[in-house]
């Protein structure tokens, strides 16, 4: 385990490279998920607002 973490003395380089790569990729997915929820909220609110303002009987 120590050997694995140590990477023959190159731990800083190896783990910084792998850490940044998978950290950024994971962050991108998380940001996109949150963004999707925000957009659904915003567009959903817009849609309901329009529906409320629509006089009854009018074709949609």
């Amino acid at each position: 385990m120590q050997d694995f973490l140590g990477q023959g003395g190159f731990a800083f380089y190896v783990w910084s490279a792998f850490g940044m790569t998978f950290g950024l990729l994971l962050a991108e997915v998380l940001v996109l998920r949150r963004h999707h929820r925000t957009i659904l909220q915003r567009v959903g609110r817009l849609v309901r607002l329009r529906k409320q303002n629509q006089p009854p009987g009018e074709p949609k």
């Binding site: 003395g9 190159f10 996109l32 567009v43």
Partner: protein, 272 residues
């Protein structure tokens, strides 16, 4: 089964399809990357001994090469959709180009970042104005320029066309990156970027490298489709299908009273 592909050229029918594909591509990406990492870290010990021993930092190759390949491939995809959009004037093509760009920029940044961390122990420097490093940096700026130009123009149709033109002109960087080698003879300067042919790479290195590349490719599909769905929703917010879909989703989860968040339960899954 006959599939009508043109059906999916409309944002309204591609939106749910993309929603179904995202988890599939994400799962494939995770599996491929995990297998690749496992092989790369635990089954390449032979590279550390032998007649031409590597030092442990060679493992950076398993993220450096895949991110660099993806940075160039995604730019080609970006320019390709831009060209299709300009020629056929299809809305979805421009949206595809838009959706790919940030992921491409991330991979370009990662190629530079992992390259720097490889360069320090092997070349003795994080950065050098080596032709390939310089042209890859320009590719990064092209991605940033594409996104900045697109967001600087308010009218999305005009923004699409202007940014698409920039993307197409930028394709000139791809062959420059590919052929920018300052060491034609590997025997003279083994450490710098050389002309490499995949056949000469040892299988235990090549296999994890290819697995992770395919994993990143699948990942790119997942994130591009996630972003594409948001772009479609934003641009088509006024259309009837978006209205019906959102009202339906809300009706399914209790008729819109009480849920203060306004997010339909199960958002992110299924059609919505």
């Amino acid at each position: 089964m006959k599939i009508n592909w043109f059906k999916y050229a409309s944002p309204a029918s591609f939106y749910p399809l993309a929603g179904q594909l995202v988890p599939k591509f994400a799962a494939v990406a995770a599996v491929l990357v995990l297998i690749g990492l496992y092989v790369g870290f635990f089954h390449t010990a032979d590279q550390l001994g032998g007649s031409n021993p590597q030092k442990e930092y060679y493992r950076i190759i398993f993220v450096h090469v895949p991110t660099a390949w993806m940075s160039m491939w995604l730019y080609l995809v970006l320019a390709g959709w831009s060209a299709i959009g300009l020629v056929f004037n299809t809305r979805l093509s421009f949206m595809m180009a838009n959706a790919v760009a940030p992921t491409g920029a991330i991979f370009t940044f990662l190629a530079l970042w992992t390259g720097a961390l490889w360069g320090r122990p092997s070349w003795g420097t994080y950065w050098d104005w080596d032709p390939r490093l310089t042209s890859e940096l320009i590719l990064f700026f092209l991605y940033i320029g594409y996104m900045a130009l697109h967001s600087a123009i308010d009218d999305s149709r005009r923004a699409d066309r202007a940014a698409a033109l920039l993307a197409i002109v930028g394709v000139v960087m791809l062959p420059i990156i590919y052929w920018s080698i300052n060491c034609p003879d590997p025997n003279n300067c083994a450490a710098l970027h050389q002309r490499s042919d995949p056949g000469s790479i040892h299988a235990s290195i090549l296999i994890p490298m290819l697995l992770i590349t395919l994993g990143f490719w699948s990942y790119s599909f997942a994130t591009a489709f996630m972003r594409l769905r948001d772009i479609i929703l934003t641009r088509e917010a006024d259309s009837a299908w978006v209205r019906d879909m959102l009202l339906e989703a809300r009706a399914d989860t209790g008729g819109g009273s009480g849920t203060s968040s306004g997010v339909p339960a199960g958002a992110g899954r299924g059609a919505v």
